[in-house]
């Protein structure tokens, strides 16, 4: 309740009026461009949520995704491990322990963060033991895990991360790169057959294409591949 009826509205209108005559702050990019120094790239900044906790989870996905490695992270991660940053001060976000576990709740569409099914860890523990919990043997660990479980369940990746000390983002980044590794069980995989052929068959397809091209029969190849796609 305001002291005088209508005062709130008047104050609002006064602000509107004042803003109306102020110079405009909008820059009509791209017609108008601000004069920024040539090396300006902006500054990385970590945001806080409404409770004042850092939103960053130190998942390293952004640092992993950056092709020229200009993003970096440092501080204590959600597993209580300390990471040192090795970039220039502008390029890392320091994550401190007060922004502890906030991983729950928010739905993120990425497979890696969606609700995941549990696995029986005994076999995985044996695999990890066999490779001495050595993160530099990650590919061998992933290969063996896939051979054991049929695919790479998220729970397994989390356990591998925990036991080897390798960042989850590193493991996920590695596993998603290699064509023979998969995150879904072969049967449940949508269009399982098609993706399986695509995975194994890129080279076979290239060789077949080369043969067709050399024999001058790309017309038939074009038709055949169009048919197989539909």
């Amino acid at each position: 309740m305001s002291r005088l009826p209508g005062l709130g509205i008047a104050m609002g209108m006064a602000l509107t009026l004042k803003k109306f005559f102020e110079p405009k702050a909008t820059i009509r990019y791209p017609e108008v461009r601000l004069d920024v120094p040539p090396k300006f790239r902006g500054r990385l900044q970590l945001l806080y949520d409404e409770y004042g906790t850092l939103k960053c989870e130190t998942c390293f996905q952004c640092a992993q995704a950056c092709p020229i490695e200009c993003i970096d992270m440092g501080g204590i991660d959600t597993k209580g491990r300390y990471h040192i940053h090795w970039g220039a001060p502008e390029t890392y976000g320091e994550r401190r322990d007060e922004s502890a576990l906030r991983r729950s709740g928010r739905p993120v569409p990425d497979q890696a963060y969606a609700h995941f099914d549990p696995i029986h860890p005994v076999k995985l523990e044996a695999i990890l033991e066999r490779f001495d919990f050595d993160p530099s043997r990650m590919l061998e660990i992933l290969d063996a895990t896939q051979a054991e479980y049929g695919h790479l369940p998220v729970a397994a990746l989390k356990l591998i991360s925990q036991r080897t000390g390798a960042w989850y983002a590193m493991i996920y980044g590695t596993a998603s790169y290699y064509r023979h590794l998969r995150f879904e069980p072969p049967a449940a995989e949508p269009l399982a057959a098609a993706t399986a052929t695509a995975r194994a068959g890129r080279e076979t397809a290239f060789l077949a294409g080369l043969d067709a091209s050399l024999a001058g029969s790309s017309r038939r190849r074009g038709r055949a591949s169009a048919a197989s796609r539909s």
């Binding site: 000390g165 024999a215 790309s218």
Partner: protein
């Protein structure tokens, strides 16, 4: 198994010796001179002596770029081992300061079987070469990286290693010299790019396979940040012969600038197979090894694999040699030589190759990820009759930009099919772009010029 093509008897057979019944028979191999080079390296020459001998032989890398082998070894031998492990996976348990030798037997190009054939038919030479390299630079580990699908090669190497360890030719205190080298086979798979050396090292470290900025070169900062010699398996397989027969004998073979022999994977209308040829053999003779062709005449030769150059018939006398090929816009690359006759359309071929290269790009850098995709799209436009009049120029500009801003050799080389196609088959390309017709009658749905093949 791949066919090994018969070559003239006068040509030396260093990598694939003739008339070997069982390549895994160690006694037979030793009677034929195997492990004589290793004995010399260990007991007579020592590290610097071995490197000097390799330098005197003029041996250059067979992995495609033709880098002088001895220079790499020297750099790795003198580089300090790092005592901190590169950031990333944290400190691995097994990573003390040390040096490594990595034999690159990945064989990325699906149309080339050279390295796989070598490992199946002469595993001892590859392993002996790796051991010699390891002793020369003071490495404690020699890792042969092989594609996981090449099961025969892996089996051959594993059997060979077991027999060598039993005969005290690998492992600890080799031949009583006090030198220890751990030999191992590492199957890797899952991406074309694994053939590139920095990517291969990433895979062995268990990381995502994307190349690194160079310098620093792997020779000084390689596997786990340690000095590492990455060498193609053919390069290593030539080393025992050099030490056993002397560098002068090796330098006398092949061309002056790059002596020795090299394996080629030939694919021609007349036949296909792998052959060992002296470096510098004219392309025409290499194509002829595949046998007589039934169809009409040679039109083009694709040299260097998916990212190779397409050379016209007039250049068929070019020497198969690093500089000569580079000068005409091709490269040794994966060792694949593919002959195309009149039935093939250069635009169609270049489009297929570029498409493969774009699909296989690792995605780390933008010229690679997006530039190659655009080159491939322009190729598609030209081949499907929807080209823009400026596409020729656009293709040339874009290729130059990609080459200029590339991180690794893949993207630089992946522009070659179209660059060489434009250079040598301009009229055929213009026919597509300006008149929407395909002289060979291959491309669809554009109009077929009168007299086309179909």
């Amino acid at each position: 198994m791949t066919t090994v093509l018969r070559t003239p008897r006068a040509w030396p057979a260093i990598l694939l010796p003739r008339g070997v019944a069982d390549p895994l028979d160690l006694d037979e191999a030793r009677k034929g001179g195997a492990f004589e080079g290793l004995r010399r390296a260990l007991l007579d020459l020592g590290g610097p002596g071995t490197i000097s001998a390799v330098a005197a032989s003029g041996l250059r890398g067979r992995g495609g770029a033709g880098f002088p082998t001895a220079e790499k070894w020297r750099a790795a031998a003198t580089a300090a081992t790092a005592d901190v492990v590169a950031p990333g996976f944290g400190s691995g348990h097994g990573t003390m300061a040390r040096r490594y030798v990595v034999a690159n037997g990945y064989g990325a190009d699906p149309s080339s079987r050279t390295d796989r054939t070598l490992m199946e038919r002469n595993p001892y030479a590859v392993l002996e070469g790796a051991l010699i390299a390891a002793t020369a630079i003071g490495a404690g580990d020699a890792i042969v990286a092989v594609r996981a699908e090449a099961t025969e090669a892996i089996a051959a190497l594993e059997t060979a290693i077991a027999r060598m360890v039993d005969a005290n030719l690998a492992g600890s205190d080799i031949l009583g010299s006090g030198v220890n080298v751990e030999l191992s086979v590492r199957p890797v798979q899952g991406a074309y790019m694994l053939g590139e050396e920095t990517v291969l090292l990433k895979a062995i470290e268990g990381k995502r396979g994307q190349p690194e900025q160079r310098p620093p070169q792997p020779a000084t900062h390689g596997l786990f940040g340690q000095p590492t010699v990455v060498q193609n398996v053919q390069t290593l397989a030539a080393v025992p012969w050099i030490l056993a027969n002397g560098p002068v004998a090796f330098a006398a073979i092949g061309s002056k600038a790059s002596p020795g022999t090299i394996l080629v994977s030939v694919r021609a209308p007349g036949g296909a197979g792998v052959a060992e040829v002296p470096v510098g053999t004219p392309l025409r003779e290499i194509v002829a090894l595949a046998g007589k062709s039934r169809s009409d005449g040679l039109k083009a030769i694709l040299v260097g694999g998916p990212a190779g150059g397409i050379l016209p018939e007039e250049l068929a006398d070019t020497a198969y040699e690093f500089e000569a090929l580079r000068a005409v816009g091709a490269h040794v690359g994966s060792g694949s030589v593919v002959a195309a006759d009149k039935r093939a359309c250069v635009v169609d071929l270049a489009r297929l190759l570029t498409r493969f290269c774009a699909d296989e790009a690792c995605g780390k850098t933008i010229p690679c990820r997006i530039g190659l995709r655009r080159v491939s799209e322009i190729g598609d436009r030209i081949a499907t009759g929807l080209p823009k009049p400026t596409d020729g120029q656009l293709l040339a500009d874009l290729s130059a930009d990609i080459v200029g801003s590339a991180l690794c050799d893949h993207e630089r080389l992946a522009t070659l099919p179209f660059a060489s196609g434009m250079r040598y088959f301009r009229s055929e390309l213009d026919e597509h772009i300006l008149r929407s017709s395909c002289p060979a009658g291959v491309c669809r749905p554009i109009a077929v010029a009168a007299g086309g093949a179909h």
